[in-house]
Amino acid sequence: MLPRVLLVEDDDVIREIYAMKFELEGFPTAVAENGQVALEMVSQFQPQVVLLDMMMPVMGGLEFMERLDKTDKKNTPDIIIFSNISAAAQMQSVMKLGATDYWVKSDYTPERVADEVAKLWKHRQVDGLAQESPADA
């Protein structure tokens, strides 16, 4: 099973091409062009992984992170910052807000991103099973 992926990206070209790649690879995919739309999509689409750009109009990635309801840890999606900003200070502040990882967009291709997301999800499932197994036993 592949995770539900929400792609939050204001650049049309990047959003379109990545959405196409995720769909081609079989990920249930939704897109949002800014943080505000993404917050609505989180409740409707209930993504398991969010690829989040930082600099966007209306609402940026940082504000989205602050506003995202993280009370239900089990159903809070993994948030991967997918941005072209590579300033150390920015990375540290979003990691503090609970991001899973920070990928600098220009270092990645759609294929690599799809692979990495799939790998991350696989790890999550292994971790989840490991946590559940003592209870089962």
Binding site: I17, Y18, K21, M54, M55, N84, S106, P110
Partner: protein, 448 residues
């Protein structure tokens, strides 16, 4: 006012305030020196007057003794009176001479000259009485005693002396008053100087704090700018990269052989463009002092092997022999993996660019006591001696002797040097024209 301007303006004000403090200190010092000089002058004058008064008192005493001795001789005819008489007249003459010299230039000098003349007259009268007696004119000599002229001159001498003493006392008093008033002024000036100096010192401190704050704001603004520029420059390049990568992967439908070849070339150019953007932004960060290290534990041999793996195809496609000599055992150290990778990668990339076909590149990793090093040696075109001192400067590159086909920004070695500096490491180069170049990066090794 922009941030940078404020900073410069503050520095300018700090210098003005410091100049003011120095000027005030000079005013304070000069006032103190003047006050002291004046006090010394008054003390000298006072000493001088005391000496003169002492001389005059002695003079009157000698004159009195001379008169008494002369009278004794004239009344008794006893020669014994003549010895003290002669002695005291000699003393009186000497004292008159000293007084004349000491008062030279003093306002009462003319009074001293008049006193000299009166005393000389009086001494002449005494001499005349003795001369008459010695010549046997007893009556004449006794008459000289009773003429009354002697008491007139003696009175004039006493008045002259007291006049001189009064003049001296007046002068002394005037000096004291002048010193007192100047001392008051000096005290006022000193207090004002002290107050103003403290005020200026507070102002300097305030401006200094402001200037530091402005510098921080400027650094922050620079960092913001670099982040923004980084985002804006990378976004369109990333869009192109995504599409080209999808095309190459066949995600957008199958491509013909020639189409795939050229799309791959476009992707390579696009990736090179992104690398150049990254290099420029890293230089901007390094210049703004914001190239921050994110150190973690790593194994140096593995890192160098990864750099080699990334570039092996490009190097071997130029028919260059690539050799890797790893260290005898793993070298663990604390470093920023991404930046160290970039530094090693820049050196290897440089070796590839400047080594002609069928050349040789050797990469070696060594461990010495407390340090680890990476050596990249090539059999390339070498570096001219005149260029050696600039090789690590920004936008510098060895002269292109291979015919203008060397790409790059000329920033790779500059960044490698900055990355080594951030790690407290060094980078050294040795080269022989037309024979090759050797770069050695050395890092301090801190076991974790």
């Amino acid at each position: 006012m922009r941030v940078g301007e404020f900073s410069q303006y503050s520095n300018y004000k700090i210098f003005i305030a410091l100049g003011g403090m120095i000027a005030l200190a000079l005013v304070g010092t000069i006032t103190a020196i003047l006050a002291m000089t004046q006090m010394l002058q008054v003390r000298e004058v006072s000493q001088h007057h005391n000496d003169a008064r002492f001389q005059m008192e002695n003079l009157l005493t000698n004159l009195e003794t001379a008169e008494t001795s002369q009278r004794g001789y004239l009344l008794t005819g006893d020669q014994v009176y003549l010895t003290p008489y002669h002695q005291t007249t000699i003393n009186a003459n000497r004292q008159l001479q000293t007084l004349g010299q000491q008062s030279n230039g003093a306002p009462y000098h003319t009074d001293i000259l008049r006193l000299q003349s009166l005393v000389h007259s009086r001494l002449a009268m005494l001499d005349q009485g003795i001369a008459l007696y010695s010549a046997g004119d007893i009556e004449g000599s006794v008459a000289s005693l009773k003429s009354g002229q002697e008491s007139v001159i003696s009175g004039q001498i006493r008045r002259s002396v007291s006049g001189i003493e009064e003049a001296q006392a007046g002068l002394l008093n005037q000096g004291r008053l002048s010193v007192e008033s100047f001392a008051g002024l000096a005290r006022g000036v000193s207090l004002a100087t002290l107050g103003l100096t403290l005020l200026l010192a507070s102002l300097v401190y305030y401006l200094y704090v402001k200037a530091i704050q402005a510098e921080r704001e400027l650094d922050y603004a620079k960092d913001e700018f670099v982040s923004l520029a980084s985002h804006q420059l990378r976004t369109p390049a990333t869009g192109i990269k995504s599409i080209l990568a999808m095309l190459v992967a066949g995600d957008l439908g199958p491509l013909g052989q020639q189409q795939k070849y050229f799309v791959s070339k476009a992707l390579e150019s696009n990736e090179r463009e992104i690398r150049i953007i990254d290099e420029l932004l890293n230089v901007a960060r390094a210049d703004a002092g914001r190239l921050v290290l994110r150190a973690s534990e790593l194994e140096l041999g593995a890192l160098v092997a990864a750099v080699i793996a990334e570039q092996r195809t490009a190097i071997e496609s130029k028919k260059i022999t690539l050799r890797f000599k790893p260290a005898a055992r793993p070298i663990h150290l604390e470093a920023d993996e991404e930046k160290l990778f970039m530094a090693v990668s820049n050196l290897l990339d440089n070796a590839r660019k400047y080594t002609p076909e069928k050349g040789k590149i050797t990469v070696a990793v060594h461990e010495k006591r407390g340090s680890a090093s990476v050596e990249v040696t090539d059999t390339g075109i070498g570096i001219d001696e005149t260029e050696m001192s600039h090789i690590f400067d920004r936008f510098q590159r060895a002269r292109n002797v291979l015919g203008g086909n060397i790409e790059g920004t000329g920033l790779g070695l500059y960044l490698a040097r900055r990355i080594m500096e951030l790690h407290n490491g060094t980078i050294e180069v040795s080269s022989k024209k037309d024979h090759g170049t050797k770069f050695v990066m050395t890092l301090p090794q801190r076991r974790t």
